[in-house]
């Protein structure tokens, strides 16, 4: 296995102190029509931490990831990534809606793996992983190729470089998607129920890859999952969501063994 030379902090450690706040939500509200999915939410994630969001469906976990990825915009409140506003820009001392260029710059620090993989079906595996480094980071074709091969090896798919996504199993596709996200050297990796669409026998392979990344790199992770043992393995903190609010949070051992809140106990009894 190659050394995890891709972790953002290796290249960037001077600019950020370990433990500094990397993501901050400040009174973020998101509504869909009449439904308030997130209600004045405050929370933050420190650099290098792995935070898992749990809670019943519809409690707003995925919405948080999608807000961070700018697939949604908040109705109220602000989100900061690595000290910069994600959806806003400071102009003449006031906060205004950010221009596309600003959003793009801040967003580059974030990578996401989706439930449905969302690989580009018209591109082979290798090109799926090199496309963004070449066209977004401006990496040379050779360098992007080289790095993509390393990442694809990291997820155990070196034999599949020249295949199209449709020729791979769901688990293999998801591992390519992980490599594709890492190729952008994000500081934060968002994992949105990444094993939910997989056949049961393929789940372990994907989780092993993610465990490996979680344990051997310093990348910050925000994880939405129903795989509680995985969450316990990799998390520094677990946040329990219900109706758009955090009802309880703490280290995984405490959250899973002796939750304080009634809603957490109820929820865990349904999934454990």
């Amino acid at each position: 296995m190659p050394s995890p030379a891709d972790t953002p902090r290796d290249s960037n450690s001077a600019s950020r102190a370990n433990g500094a706040e990397l993501v901050r939500f400040d009174k973020v509200t998101k509504r869909f029509g009449d439904v308030t999915v997130l209600d004045q939410l405050d929370f933050s994630v420190d650099t290098g931490k792995h935070v898992t969001l749990i809670g019943p469906s519809g409690s707003g976990k995925t919405t948080i990831l999608r807000l961070l990825m700018t697939l949604l915009t908040p109705d109220e409140g602000t989100i900061k990534v690595d000290g910069d506003y994600l959806n806003h820009e400071e102009r003449n001392g006031t906060l205004a809606k950010a221009g596309e260029k600003h959003v793009r710059e801040v967003r580059k620090k974030i990578g996401m793996v989706f439930q449905q993989f969302n690989l580009f079906p018209n591109m082979k595996v290798l090109r799926n992983v090199t496309e963004a480094p070449v066209h977004v980071l401006g990496m040379s074709k050779d360098e992007a190729d080289q790095r993509a091969r390393e990442l694809i090896e990291l997820v155990g798919l070196s034999e599949q470089l020249d295949k199209y996504p449709s020729q791979l199993s769901g688990g293999q596709q998801q591992r390519v998607a992980i490599a594709r996200a890492l190729a952008m050297r994000p500081q934060v990796l968002l994992l949105d129920e990444v094993t939910s669409a997989l056949d049961p026998e393929l789940v372990a392979g994907v989780l092993d890859v993610l465990r490996d990344i979680a344990h051997t790199t310093d990348i910050t992770m925000l994880v939405v999952t129903h795989e509680m043992s995985f969450a316990r393995d990799i998390s520094d903190a677990v946040l329990m969501f219900d109706r758009g609010k955090i009802v309880e949070s703490g280290p995984p051992d405490k959250m899973f063994s002796e939750p304080e809140h009634e809603r957490t106990r109820e929820f865990l009894s349904t999934v454990l």
């Binding site: 700018t70 449905q116 969302n118 018209n122 591109m123 496309e131 066209h135 977004v136 594709r180």
Partner: protein, 217 residues
């Protein structure tokens, strides 16, 4: 009336001129329809209402007025304040413009059929919008719509005699003028057969393409 092969012989030189013109109009008209239709379809998904609205109005207007009227307009009205073009050029532009509003709908369906997840993945990777279109969305969208585009080429072939009315003598135009001069009818029959000989293999080809694309996707 009896069939006279001598008439057919006499018509042949003009028939081939007509075929050449028909094919020219078809190929160039299709190129315009394919490319302009794509422009319309992409513009209709613009973030800016100032782009979407005019394009919607223009395409609806063109799609809902007869091709014949458009050809007359292009040939007789436009030169009053714009460039004066040959009847063939006008015919090609007219066919291409008219059919671009139909191919736009085809592309639109194809683009709409690309899963939202593809746009989201492109956003998550920060791909620029132009790159998202060129490398992710269009390759998937166009693949789905090739057969439908082909059907419009055949429809355009069948509409191509209209350009004879503004003086671009494609095969039907040649047949008409020949028949009027010689008081014969054979030329019409030849041209009718010629249309079938072009259109039927073309539609077979499209069906084949459809099946191939369905298998490999």
């Amino acid at each position: 009336m009896t069939w006279d092969w001598n008439v057919v012989d006499d018509f042949m030189p003009r028939f081939w001129d007509g075929v050449l013109l028909t094919l020219q109009a078809l190929v160039l008209g299709s190129l315009i329809a394919f490319s302009l239709g794509l422009v319309w379809a992409i513009a209709q998904r613009s973030r800016f209402a100032a782009v979407r609205w005019p394009v919607n109005i223009i395409t609806e207007f063109i799609r809902n007025t007869p091709l014949l009227v458009q050809l007359f307009f292009l040939y007789y009205v436009v030169p009053e304040w714009g460039p004066s073009l040959t009847s063939l050029t006008t015919g090609i532009i007219g066919l291409g413009l008219h059919y671009s509003t139909y191919t736009a709908e085809v592309y639109r369906a194809g683009i709409g059929g690309v899963p939202t997840g593809q746009w989201e993945a492109a956003t998550a990777l920060s791909l620029p919008r132009s790159r998202t279109w060129a490398a992710v969305i269009l390759p998937q969208a166009i693949r789905r719509v090739v057969p439908a585009l082909g059907n419009y080429v055949i429809a355009m072939l069948k509409d191509s005699p209209l350009i004879a009315i503004i003086g671009a003598l494609e095969m039907f135009g040649e047949a008409e003028s020949f028949s009027n001069e010689t008081f014969t009818f054979e030329a019409y029959t030849i041209v009718g057969i010629a249309f079938i000989l072009i259109a039927y293999p073309a539609s077979l080809l499209i069906r084949l393409l459809e099946r191939r694309l369905a298998i490999t996707s």
